[in-house]
């Protein structure tokens, strides 16, 4: 099987545009969630980690003209471009062996609201064809493929799976590189529904776009993605234990080789700790990024991987555990050569 390496990271989070800035803020112990105020009109008062205005987008993509792309696509384009540049991926002319995958937890809520609300209030003549083109979940991934030149495998998953499919595509030799992306844009109407459904009680929700440039092979100095597993249908200790074991087996590693664990969602802390204890984990407590970044759902797993890759010591391995919004567990093992 072909090795998979992490060659570059890009991110747009509540700490701003750029992975180095986000990483530095996490390391300083900053916490992004705060009451949204006027930043998201109509949203519940619960703290949120919202991405600040994307003031650099038009300078970064000067050929694109208003009103497109939509904000969520702008977020993803900025993250993907940063990751591709960090990985020194040559995408001009466009490459058919570089794919784009995207995970997100929900369909484009702001786009759907902007499309539907005028029609519901004022009738069919208020429909925007431009907005409709952006209402599909893969619109941001399509923009990355089109504008950055990545014409290989093109997949969008909802609630988890893009990491597994990216890893499989690279290991199989179906692509030389994959821009593996995660995205979460918050929408006031959906947040109100989440509030009524009792989903805003625990972790503050957060916005983010993240992209990992995963490459087949890769140079020895790059962090390697050694194993990925996904499964279960509940965030309980049994499911977490089984998934971590499967990821370790996939990586050909054992828990003794792990020096860092980056854990998943707040609600599952007890189950996660119980599963790690059952597996014999005796290392430091898992690092969790939710307090800093908010629960970024579709972007959370890849942000955790980016953090693990940036902070794990040389000649060490890290374990990342994350939970899809569909309640599936994903586990990933990373390692770095001496």
């Amino acid at each position: 099987m072909i090795d998979v390496a992490l060659a570059g990271v890009g991110a747009v989070t509540a700490f701003g545009v750029g992975w180095p800035g986000t990483l530095a803020a996490i390391r300083r112990g900053e916490l992004a969630p705060r009451p949204p105020g006027d930043a998201l009109p109509g949203a519940p008062a619960a703290p949120l980690a919202l991405v600040p205005p994307l003031t650099t987008f038009r300078d970064t993509f000067p050929k694109l003209r208003d009103p497109l792309p939509e904000r969520e696509t702008q977020m993803l384009l900025l993250a993907a471009r940063e990751a591709a540049c960090a990985a020194a991926l040559e995408l001009d002319p466009p490459r058919h062996d570089v794919g784009v995958t995207l995970d997100r937890a929900a369909m484009p809520g702001r786009v759907a609201t902007a499309l539907l609300e005028p029609v519901l209030r004022g009738g069919l003549r208020r429909t925007s064809p431009l907005l409709f083109s952006q209402s599909v979940s893969n619109a941001p991934a399509g923009a990355v493929a089109r504008l950055l030149g990545a014409r290989g495998p093109h997949l969008v998953t909802m609630g988890g799976g893009a990491l597994l499919l990216s890893f499989e595509a690279l290991r199989r030799g179906e692509a030389e590189a994959v821009l593996a992306c995660g995205l979460e844009e918050l929408c006031a109407d959906r947040l109100r529904a989440d509030e009524e459904n009792g989903l805003l009680r625990e972790a503050a929700l957060g916005e983010a776009a993240v992209c990992l440039a995963l490459v087949a092979g890769g140079s020895p100095g790059l962090p390697r993605v050694c194993g990925v597993a996904q499964g279960g249908l509940a965030t309980d200790a049994d499911a977490i234990e089984a998934c971590v074991e499967a990821a370790l087996t996939d990586a050909g590693a054992d828990l003794g080789a792990i020096s860092l664990v980056v854990g998943g969602e707040v609600e599952a802390v007890g189950a996660e700790d119980e599963a790690l204890a059952r597996l014999g984990w005796g290392g430091p407590a898992p690092v969790r990024l939710k307090a800093a970044l908010g629960e970024t759902r579709g972007a959370a797993a890849l942000l955790s991987m980016a953090y693990a890759a940036a902070t794990m010591p040389p000649a060490a391995s890290a374990l990342v555990i994350e939970f899809g919004w569909d309640t599936q567990v994903t586990a990933c093992v990373l390692s770095r050569a001496p």
């Binding site: 009738g123 069919l124 064809p129 599909v136 979940s137 093109h154 459904n197 499964g231």
Partner: protein
């Protein structure tokens, strides 16, 4: 790729089950019905054929979509007779786009001052996959693929990949979509809906016809299926997926992305020149069909296929069922290969320009090839392109 299809199911405008689908294709029936949402507005769509008791009477739109998905997937699983598969080795992959009217209903209630029901939004687009997994006891990867109108085909292709890499031993894959208000207003605003019903692959085509549908297949590695004596309904032999990279909604007029994924899907078949049947994406829109037929012509010419290579589009019979379309057309192709049938493109009277080995039939006919190979295409907004190669039972 050698992935066996050991179970398949469909719920379409022709009813529930592959037999109902095959009977309609063999008869060349169209499932389109006239619709009118506003005065002066006329369009055609398909709706799921229902019998009493198929759905609870008070089902909300989202629950209806989930219910249809779960029932249809369970039908396929029952046909396959899978027994003894460890839960962690059973995967589910579901394709869907907008899924239902849940978000529109939530917004409408808020605007009109009523109490909006938020629960239909709690589960999100992954509801069907999660609940299929719950019903079937699957604890392997559960995937919801949302690549617009190629979602269902990509769900099947990715499930096949999980089997190839031996991550799982069995997968239930397909797609579901019930026509949503958002989808309808969107295509209406693009003036993409045919007033009289779509006529794919026809010189006079004037747009698409939307519809409801769900379809699933049960997949296993061929050697495993043969070992357990499973009923093998067909074999997936290749898959390609990629990005067209041309425009947010319009296909590349040169068909470059479509050509790439068709080549990829055919490249892993042992005898690609056996290509006999192409189930085109064939929406009936001017841009899609012209580019697609030209792309198929290039691929067939490259193969030096002796032909005839029958190119058909089933959306004038089934409607464009979006996230379910690719899956529904795969099940239709499998049924046709099994019964040695070439379905026609209903409503086709003036076929788009083509030359041998391509043939664009308008009516069903017997399939004469000894070892037919079929290709199913699915394309979507955002430039998503995918193709799947398949053969009848060995």
């Amino acid at each position: 790729m050698r992935i066996a299809v050991t179970g398949m199911s469909a719920w379409s405008c022709f009813g529930r089950g592959p037999d109902a689908l095959l009977a309609a294709l063999a008869a060349g029936r169209r499932g389109l019905g006239e619709q009118q949402r506003e005065p002066g507005d006329r369009w055609m769509r398909t709706s799921l054929a229902m019998t009493a008791g198929d759905l609870p009477a008070d089902e909300d739109p989202w629950e209806a979509a989930v219910h249809v998905a779960v029932q249809t997937a369970a039908d396929a699983f029952a046909m396959a007779g899978v027994a003894g598969c460890a839960p962690s080795r059973l995967a589910v992959a579901n394709g869907t786009t907008q899924g239902s009217d849940a978000f529109a209903a939530f917004l409408r209630a808020r605007i009109e001052g009523g109490r909006a029901n938020p629960s239909s939004l709690a589960e999100g687009a992954f509801g069907p996959a999660r609940r299929i997994a719950g019903r079937l006891g699957a604890r392997g990867p559960v995937l919801t693929i949302s690549t617009a109108c190629s979602s269902g085909l990509n769900a099947i292709g990715q499930a096949a990949r999980l089997l190839e890499s031996r991550r799982v031993d069995c997968a239930v894959a397909g797609g579901v979509d019930l026509l949503s208000f958002l989808t309808w207003i969107g295509f209406n605003s693009l003036r993409a809906l045919s007033p009289g019903g779509c006529r794919p692959l026809d010189e006079g085509r004037d747009g698409m016809s939307l519809g409801d549908g769900a379809a699933y297949v049960v997949l296993e590695r061929l050697e495993d299926a043969e070992r357990r004596g499973a009923p093998i309904r067909g074999v997936l032999t290749g898959y390609g997926c990629g990005a067209d990279g041309f425009h947010a909604t319009a296909p590349d007029p040169e068909g470059a992305g479509a050509i790439r994924v068709m080549r990829a899907a055919l490249s892993s078949d042992a005898s690609p020149a056996d290509l006999t049947l192409v189930s085109a994406h064939g929406t009936g829109t001017p841009a899609n069909d012209a580019a697609e037929v030209a792309a198929i012509q290039i691929v067939a010419d490259e193969l030096r296929a002796p032909g005839p290579v029958h190119v058909v589009a089933l959306k004038s019979q089934l409607g464009h069922t979006l996230g379910a379309a690719g899956a529904l057309e795969v099940v239709a192709a499998l049924c046709c290969l099994e019964r040695r049938l070439v379905p026609g493109t209903a409503g086709l009277s003036r076929p788009l320009a083509h030359r041998p080995p391509l043939v664009l039939p308008s009516a069903p006919a017997p399939l004469a090839a000894a070892a037919p190979l079929a290709l199913c295409n699915s394309f979507g907004f955002g430039g998503a392109v995918a193709a799947l190669a398949l053969r009848g039972c060995p």
